[in-house]
């Protein structure tokens, strides 16, 4: 009873200021991703005469990099490379998680054992190290990294969906659908999925933040996008060499990555709290 009234009171309140700020920040990033050419036309245009200008130079709010490119524009242009990959990782991992997780949880038995063993083994290994080694062997590249990350991220989604399905499976409403002999796919899709959708969606959201961290880490190590493309991780690696001439190159990218990841996490854990699910 107490929790019920608590939840009710919570819903009437406005979200805390940190959540609102995070939301606004993410909206800005999203508009950058969708309309890069509006905010940063010709971001990749070189200007050999004006290289390594410090921040605050005329016409260049954040200065220019070693190739004379405007840092502020590079930051905006780099947003799509920074965000699209992680969204694909989260989506791919979600699809695999839903598929294998519900198979393992619903049917149990031998299939469950195999799928769970795969998930346990992958989860126990340091994913970033694996990704670095895998990138080296397969040859690296942005979309290959996305695929590797999906493989490494999916075990967590599989476990999440599996345990949620097992939890729902034993409840009376599912027992009754079984009495009607509905087929498994229908029960899963129509009856179980709506009950686990919230947890799964929050996890999808949080995975975007982890994906951003992993993908930009790989780009930072030179295992991601090509050398001249706009990308936040890449920008930090390049800017590290220019720390004394124009610190804004690396710092701006570093701060934007940190703020984006923190914002996504703040909103994600807020949503998780609101949905009433314990971690």
């Amino acid at each position: 009873m107490e929790t019920l009234t608590n939840n009710f009171e919570k819903k009437k309140k406005l979200p805390p200021i940190s959540i609102i700020l995070s939301g606004v920040f993410l909206l800005i990033i999203i508009t950058w991703v969708i309309f890069p050419s509006v905010f940063a036309p010709n971001a990749l245009a070189l200007d050999i005469k004006n290289t390594k200008l410090p921040a605050g130079s005329e016409g260049h709010l954040l200065g220019t990099d070693a190739l004379g490119r405007d840092v502020a524009k590079m930051l905006i242009a780099g947003s799509s490379s920074a965000m699209i990959g992680p969204v694909c990782i989260a989506a791919g991992s979600l699809i695999i998680g839903l598929l294998l997780g519900s198979i393992a949880g619903w049917f149990g038995g031998f299939l469950d054992k195999i799928i769970s063993a795969y998930a346990d083994l992958t989860l126990s290994m340091p994913s970033l190290l694996l990704a670095i080694v895998a990138a080296a062997i397969i040859g690296g590249g942005y979309w290959i990294n996305v695929l590797v990350m999906i493989v490494l991220y999916s075990p967590f989604d599989i476990r999440l969906v599996r345990s949620a399905v097992i939890q729902q499976k034993s409840k009376p409403y599912i027992e009754s659908t079984r009495m009607f002999r509905l087929n498994s796919f229908r029960i899963l899709a129509v009856h179980i999925f709506p009950n686990i959708a919230m947890v799964v969606m929050v996890n999808f959201f949080l995975n975007i933040a982890y994906g951003l961290m992993s993908m930009s880490s790989l780009s930072f190590l030179g295992l991601g996008v090509g050398p001249k493309e706009a990308d936040w991780g890449r920008q930090i690696a390049d800017g590290r060499e220019l720390l004394t001439q124009n610190p804004a190159v690396a710092l701006s990218a570093g701060i934007v990555i940190i703020l984006t990841a923190v914002s996504i996490n703040l909103i994600g854990s807020y949503l998780l709290e609101r949905s009433g699910v314990d971690e």
Partner: protein, 323 residues
């Protein structure tokens, strides 16, 4: 009682061994997953003449069946023979050892810092549940977990080394002076600690919250025992999840370490791994991967055994209800 303990230790170590066999198989296959002739990966593409390739084929028994090659590799690995580094030209173990020493020092320092800070702030947070202090710690630990180490490291490097001049900029300083090396490793260790401690704070907090509301806490309070004594008792009971997750963090710490070493130009395992990966120095990559796999598997097994020995009752409750 003793036999059940031994049985648990034995099964846990066996589990560790099984996953190591599996991992070593994957690590060995690295050489064959890379495109092209493995002999070429071993001598490096530049020097590959047909005679040399034939010699390498004979030397490494590359024409034998895959499984017997794997068997030979494992046998050599057990006597710490991983062949020569392609880049350096001398035995892999000698080449990797000095890098490993630096990384272990950095990781050790980080673990020490994050356990102290993480457990301390976790306890403070649990004891002030719902107050401003708790919320502030919660918010900052959430921020800490979601900051990528290399981005944070770069910001710290700029502020504390370049602008304020408190810490040295790059490298590890004078290798013959352990204190100087430690001083150079401090800011990287702080960078790693911010992410690591944040997770420990969360886990300590939730483990302590269970203890704070426990009956024995109420009784100890009623007997007016000193707070330090109560906290000690609570921490002992809350220790299993804290220990387990500290062991688990070791794995992710080695991943984060790769990036932080690259930010601060520390010639440790992480930098060696990335440079060997780009150079295609397969024996070095294999050795580093296997060494970390052994380390991570053993640590998690040892932590599990330690948790079990500290509190064997939790494992037995399910078997016998009479206690």
């Amino acid at each position: 009682m003793l036999t059940s303990k031994l049985k648990y230790i034995f099964t846990r170590l066996l589990e560790c061994l099984v996953s190591l066999v599996f991992l070593s198989f994957i690590i060995f296959s690295l050489l064959y997953l890379a495109p092209g002739d493995p002999a070429k990966s071993l001598v490096g593409v530049k020097h590959a003449t047909p005679e040399l390739l034939a010699k390498i084929h004979a030397q490494y028994h590359l024409d034998d069946p895959f499984l017997s090659q794997y068997g030979r590799w494992v046998k050599n690995a057990l006597s710490l023979d991983f062949g020569n580094s392609i880049k350096a030209g001398y035995p892999v173990v000698d080449y990797v050892a000095p890098h490993a020493a630096i990384t272990f020092e950095l990781v050790g320092l980080t673990l020490l810092l994050s356990v102290i800070i993480g457990v301390w702030l976790g306890v403070v947070s649990a004891r002030n549940k719902g107050k401003i202090l708790d919320k502030a710690i919660d918010l900052s630990s959430l921020a800490g977990t979601s900051m990528p180490g290399f981005a944070l490291g770069l910001v710290l490097l700029y502020v504390f080394s370049y602008q304020l001049g408190i810490f040295p900029m790059y490298g590890i300083g004078d290798k013959s002076n352990p204190l100087d090396v430690l001083w150079h490793l401090t800011l990287p260790a702080i960078t790693l600690t911010i992410g690591d401690a944040a997770m420990l704070i969360k886990i300590t907090r939730s483990a302590m919250l269970k203890e704070v509301s426990g009956d024995y806490t109420v009784f100890m309070r009623a007997r007016a025992l000193p707070t330090s004594k109560i906290i000690r008792a609570q921490l002992k009971n809350a220790s299993p999840p804290i220990l387990t997750s500290t062991g688990l963090f070791l794995a992710s710490l080695f991943g984060a370490n790769v990036l932080v070493e690259n930010v601060f130009s520390i010639p440790g395992l992480g930098q060696l791994l990335t440079s060997s990966v780009t150079f295609g120095d397969v024996p070095v990559v294999q050795f580093i991967a296997l060494m970390l796999a052994v380390l991570i598997c053993l640590t998690s097994a040892l932590v599990d055994i330690l948790v079990y020995l500290l509190n064997p009752n939790t494992h037995q409750l399910s078997q016998s209800t009479k206690i």
